[in-house]
């Protein structure tokens, strides 16, 4: 062992005096919100599993559930940033509807190929984001008002584009984004999806490599790290957590493209919120706008980009949604904003700003999608579905308020 190694080991020894159980309890204390969210999700699943006599937990249903939550998942990723920075975006549903109609018209009327359509639709989403950002950041109109205006206006634009009709039947490639699964690669005739297995394994290996690299970097900088057995435990646990949903999807028809795309977005946004200046500034603005301003944060520019990103994600959501339905309708996107906002709050995003995670919002989106899916399986009437979803949102925000007060 060289000298540096020794100092680390001694440092580790000192730090590990805090026993294993203490470490666990600290970890729970620090991540109490995330744990309660996951527990809430699992209990909802168990309840539905009991009420539907197990249908809910079949791989077929769970696969569908994941596919259904993708749209809200995209929106929730953007909405977290919006809400953390103490704004709100009420327009995402209407805008998603409009963008879906735009993409439909581009393909069916203008005859563009799917790739170009997707690029143009994403561009339109960014433009809408710029429009919102301009009014909110540079003209000082509250986000609530700006997006409320858009909520109405874009409903009108959707009607204008679709002329009240349903526009449908898209090229296969576009549909695949919304409802397709990764194709089998080697064992075409097997009753499982080999590509998905490969993807799942790649995810796990990537995770292990990144985690070990991080550990090495910390050792290099003489910072504290987990002891070897704890590190191993961590790797095993997280591998299992990645493997289970993969297994579920593999045993049905494989991993859907849309889910892959969402995973990509979640990874990028998690990285952005944790590791970039932009992310830090978003949380700083939400935590204490005045302090952020005095620390030299360009608040206007950050707010502008938050809404540009929201626009981009709204476009992504609309593409996936339109592809899944294989049609653009006038009612598409209806109430998406509420589901996305609810997903954020259920996922622990603070209604007063400054706190919230992408991971939490995704769990929140899963909760919302599970409620939809489970209640549909049980044939609950739509009126009760709305009431129950509303009650759960209220309950979630109240829980957030209570835990905040205690902390």
């Amino acid at each position: 062992m060289n000298k540096r190694g020794e100092t680390i080991n001694s440092g580790e020894a000192i730090r590990n005096k805090g026993s294993f159980s203490q470490l666990i309890s600290n970890s729970i204390k620090q991540n109490i919100r995330q744990y309660t969210m996951i527990i809430a999700l699992l209990s909802i699943w168990i309840i539905f599993a009991l009420l539907t006599k197990g249908i809910f937990l079949t791989s077929r249903n769970l696969s569908n559930l994941f596919l259904q939550m993708v749209t809200i998942g995209f929106l929730a990723c953007g909405m977290v940033l919006v809400i953390v920075a103490t704004h709100i975006d009420l327009s995402v549903g209407s805008v998603a509807g409009t963008l879906g109609a735009v993409s439909a018209v581009l393909m069916t009327k203008a005859g563009l190929n799917p790739l170009l359509t997707i690029v143009l639709t994403l561009g339109c989403g960014i433009l809408v984001g710029c429009w919102h950002g301009f009014w909110i950041s540079y003209r000082g109109v509250p986000a609530f008002i700006v997006t409320l205006a858009s909520m109405t206006a874009f409903k009108g634009i959707t009607l204008a584009i679709t002329k009240g009709a349903t526009i449908g039947e898209f090229p296969l490639a576009f549909k695949a984004l919304g409802q397709g699964y990764v194709p089998k690669l080697f064992f075409k005739n097997a009753n499982f999806n080999d590509t998905s297995i490969i993807i799942g394994v790649i995810f796990i290996i990537l995770f292990i490599i990144i985690d070990l690299k991080k550990r090495n970097a910390r050792i290099k900088h003489e910072l504290e790290v987990l002891s070897v057995p704890l590190q191993t435990l961590r790797i095993v646990l997280i591998s299992v957590v990645i493997a289970i949903p993969c297994m579920v999807m593999i045993s049905y028809r494989g991993i859907p493209y849309a889910v892959l795309l969402l995973i990509g977005v979640v990874v990028i946004f998690t990285f952005m919120t944790n590791k970039t200046k932009f992310g830090r500034y978003v949380y700083a603005i939400g935590g204490n706008k005045q302090a952020a301003r005095l620390s030299g944060v360009n608040i206007k520019r950050i707010n502008f980009f938050i809404f540009v990103l929201m626009g981009l994600l709204t476009a992504l959501a609309s593409i996936v949604f339109t592809g899944r339905l294989n049609a653009a309708t006038t009612s598409a996107g209806n109430l998406f904003e509420l589901d996305a906002i609810a997903a954020c709050y259920i996922g622990g995003t603070s209604s007063t700003g400054g706190v919230g995670t992408i991971f939490g919002a995704i769990i929140g989106a899963l909760v919302m999608a599970s409620l939809d899916n489970g209640m549909s399986l049980m044939n609950v009437e739509i009126m009760y579905q709305y009431i129950i979803k509303g009650a759960i949102l209220l309950f979630a925000v109240w829980i957030d308020f209570v835990t905040n007060k205690k902390a």
Partner: protein, 505 residues
Amino acid sequence: MSEYILEMRNITKEFPGVKALDNVNLKVRKGEIHALIGENGAGKSTLMKILSGVYPFGTYSGDIVVNGQEQTFSSIKDSEHKGITIIYQELAMIKQMNVCENIFLGSEICTNGVIDWEKSFVETKKVLKEVRLDINPNTKIIQLGIGQQQLIEVAKAISKKTELLILDEPTSALTEAETDNLLNLLKEFKEKGVTCIYISHKLNEVFKIADRITVLRDGQTVTTRAAEELDEDKLITLMVGRELTQRFPRVEHSPGEVVMEIKNWTVYDPEIPDKKIIDNVSFTVAKGEILGISGLMGAGRTELFMSIFGCYGSNVSGEIWLNGVEIKKRNPSDIIKEGISYLSEDRKGNGLILMQSIKQNISIASLNSLSKMTVINENKEVKAVEKYISNLHIKTPSIEQKVENLSGGNQQKVVLGKWLMTEPKVLILDEPTRGIDVGAKYEIYSIMNRLIDEGVCVIMISSELPEVLGMSDRILVMNEGKITGNIPWTEASQEKVIYYATGGK
């Protein structure tokens, strides 16, 4: 019935880490005007907040006796029921509402739950007449001047059948004529039997109206005397009268060349467009000196430096020169890049992001140098933050500790760490030791000395006279938006600073 309308006995109030009031006694006779005097931070406002129930019974120790009865106020409503009304320095009126609505806000005249506006108007006219204001009760507050607004606050107090009226710095925003008017009015009310506690820095006013004077210093009662027994000089001595002990690590500095120069700096009030907050101020700061900025509340010290930092005032004019180059930009991010940093007096409001970690708070202003292509180099960040945690002796188990869980002194060191990390040429510290304990204060003074050795200019705004006298190499005294005194520390004394701070008249 006793001769005293109010007795506050042995009042002690502690904030985390600080004893704001220590066994304070205040006895106010029926029908007198009683002046409460003390430096900034002597505890006057805290005492009045206890009296009015802002700090409810149980959060302090000691007794409040009103008209011979012991009181346990748990809210402002309780104290108002006993006829005690307090008018704060910052007027508490809703500007978009009219005079009548404001006067009866919270105590509306109702019949069967419906507001009786006719009766309210008649009553409003009556009380307006009592304060000799000839305006329509329908006038919106926003259309009135500060002097008139002040009188409406008084009218509101009268409408509540107030027996004991407390005025906290009522004249800080008033003109001389308006002040005289208010003082005459208070004398009239005295004739009618209203008792008044008058808090003011302006000693000449105090002697115009006060019957008796209580002096507070460092959270303790110094004395209560009849006004005739005192004059301004005696009063100043009582206010500051304490020996400077070894609380300040003074080190001889030898100031070098001028680093920053401010020329003809003028700032208008963002809310009252034609009121100058800062009036044509010019000064210099030299390398290796601690420049103390003294002055009373409302003198414009914070506004001066906030506006230099680019975050105050709507109409700012003047020049900033740093090392011989003029800085034209007027926003915090560019000013920080140029090498000027400003530590705000409002630690929680403007300095910290309480829900975030020490690490995030310290690095927030320096992320540019810690990141490449917007991606933060976390290892570099952690090392940099740890350096400041150990240099500043911030007591914490981890750099991930949330700032809200730290003591006041450690919180202040976190903010200080944030600004030191930006490696400023000029560091402006606004009330750097407010609300922190003596030990932490000493550490912050030592850090200031260290900075001077490293060639940083330190500007220290402070309301604590001993601190200004104990640490500064030179003291600028401000009064009503102007610099009225420029004193080298060797010639400075408490009396001299107070003299300039009260306008040097």
